[in-house]
């Protein structure tokens, strides 16, 4: 009997184990699934809290973005106004400067034209001097080297009262320029074509007038000067240089004969002309 009992104990234990194993497995499975549920629940709850926090942060961020965009729009408007103001100022300044430059340009041109038109030469036959005059005032006065005018190879002409300078030449060229129409084309011959010799006759500074009279500096060759047919007033080199520089084409040369007695009629006429001029000036 005892030997049977000892032999039955392991079998009994095994039998009991076989009977309770499914239950144990089921309990373990239930515990596992319960643990999984608990874990999932806590993760889901944690995520929900995170979602709520993120939503709140997102709302705050969107509010801040809206504020910044409003500020950006304001700044854009401000900048646009400032640029527009600067552009207007620049344009005003440009207009001011351009009108200033135009005025200066006009003043320069008008001043030069006035100088040209109001400047003339005056030859005083009594003293044998030549003066650069402007608006009746003598700016410079120089002696005339050879006065009265001399004629070479031609008859002397009476001195006209007023002549005009029509040409100035430095190193008077052999030929004068000319233009002529040939076969329907205008041909221009500049002054330096030709071979006749007058270069040495008239010197370095030569002023031709609309009469026979020529004003010039010392000739290069006295022989050539005497041989060249012309009617001239001789000036010294510095005076010729100065007069040449200061004179213009078209400038009048008044030849005042102060030695001749003035006739009363002429004096009356002069006084009358002066009165009319004064009246006109006052009206302006």
């Amino acid at each position: 009997m005892s030997m049977d009992k000892n032999r039955d104990k392991p079998e009994l234990a095994a039998g009991r184990l076989r009977r309770f194993a499914p239950a144990a497995a089921a309990l373990v499975l239930l515990a596992a699934i319960n643990a999984l549920r608990v874990r999932l629940k806590s993760s889901a709850l944690a995520n929900r809290r995170q979602v709520q926090a993120l939503s709140q942060n997102l709302d705050d961020a969107q509010d801040a973005l809206a504020d910044e965009q409003s500020l950006l729009d304001l700044k854009k408007d401000e900048l646009s106004h400032a640029k527009s103001a600067v552009l207007n100022l620049t344009r005003s300044r440009q207009a001011l400067y351009e009108s200033g430059f135009e005025l200066q340009e006009q003043e320069r041109i008008l001043q030069k034209q006035w100088e040209m038109l109001s400047t003339y030469l005056q030859i005083d036959t009594a003293s044998g001097k030549i003066s650069v005059m402007r608006s009746g005032q003598a700016l410079e006065t120089y002696p005339i080297h050879d006065f009265p005018p001399r004629a070479f190879g031609r008859e002397a002409a009476p001195l006209p009262r007023i002549v005009r300078i029509v040409s100035k030449e430095r190193y008077a060229a052999p030929e004068r320029g000319k233009s002529e129409e040939v076969n329907g084309h205008l041909e221009w011959q500049p002054p330096q074509v030709g071979t006749s010799a007058r270069a040495n006759a008239l010197g370095e500074f030569v002023m031709f007038t609309n009469s026979a009279l020529i004003l010039h500096g010392p000739p290069k060759s006295a022989k050539d000067h005497a041989a060249y047919p012309h009617y001239c007033l001789g000036l010294s080199w510095p005076v010729a240089r100065r007069i040449y520089k200061e004179s213009f084409i078209g400038e009048k040369i008044w030849i005042a004969d102060r030695s001749a007695p003035k006739t009363p009629a002429k004096a009356k006429k002069r006084r009358a002309t002066a009165r009319v001029r004064r009246r006109l000036r006052r009206r302006r």
């Binding site: 239930l30 500020l71 009108s99 006035w114 004179s247």
Partner: protein
Amino acid sequence: MRHPSRVLWGLWLAAFAAEAVAVAVWSARLQKSRGQISVLTEKFSRVNRERAAASGQIKAQSQEMKFLQSLPNLLPKDKGYLRTQRAIAEEVEVLRRKLSGRLRGRLYVVVDAKAEKLYLERGFRILMQADCSVGRGELLIDRKTGRRWRFTTPLGEFHVLAKAADPLWRKPDWAYVEEGKPIPPPDSPKRLVSGELGAYLLSLGDGYLIHGVKDEKTLGRPASHGCVHLGAAPLKQLYETAPVGTPVFIIE
């Protein structure tokens, strides 16, 4: 013995099913919340990027505003400039009155030899202005003969004496001396050259002309041998507008 185990198994099944359902529900909720977190995170990043961009733009605009405010005052506070302008305007008026007897209503040309500009004016109104080129002032000496030429444009009051289209140029001695070529006789047909003087020509007398030029880049500086060079377009306008007898003032 079987009855209690069936009950227990039934309870177990019920519990297991409940747990399984709960697991499914929480799993779904977890998935959903993960999706929401992902979406919210992306939105948050985008909003932050936009904020960063806006901040950058605000900063740039502030700097630009600062720069504009730092620019010097474009209109001078000192009104002296305006007084000078007014004084110059009064002087211009005085000069116009002085010159009105000679120039008012008249068509004339002014050549500013210093500024290398040509103006066509009627009265005191400028009809056209253009760059021109006057004599360059050089001295040319022919070493063989000793002849000299100084290429300057004379100053003074001229008049248009003649006009021509497609003019021919009779080449002068100095042109051959300049080129170092032998000088042909004065009447040689070889001297006649076309196209050198441009399409039009206005003669001022004494060999001085207003004519065209081959290279308009030379305009605006003294480059001629004494004539007044002008560009093709202003030359055409001058030719068509200024009749013979028009005064031409060459000033400096």
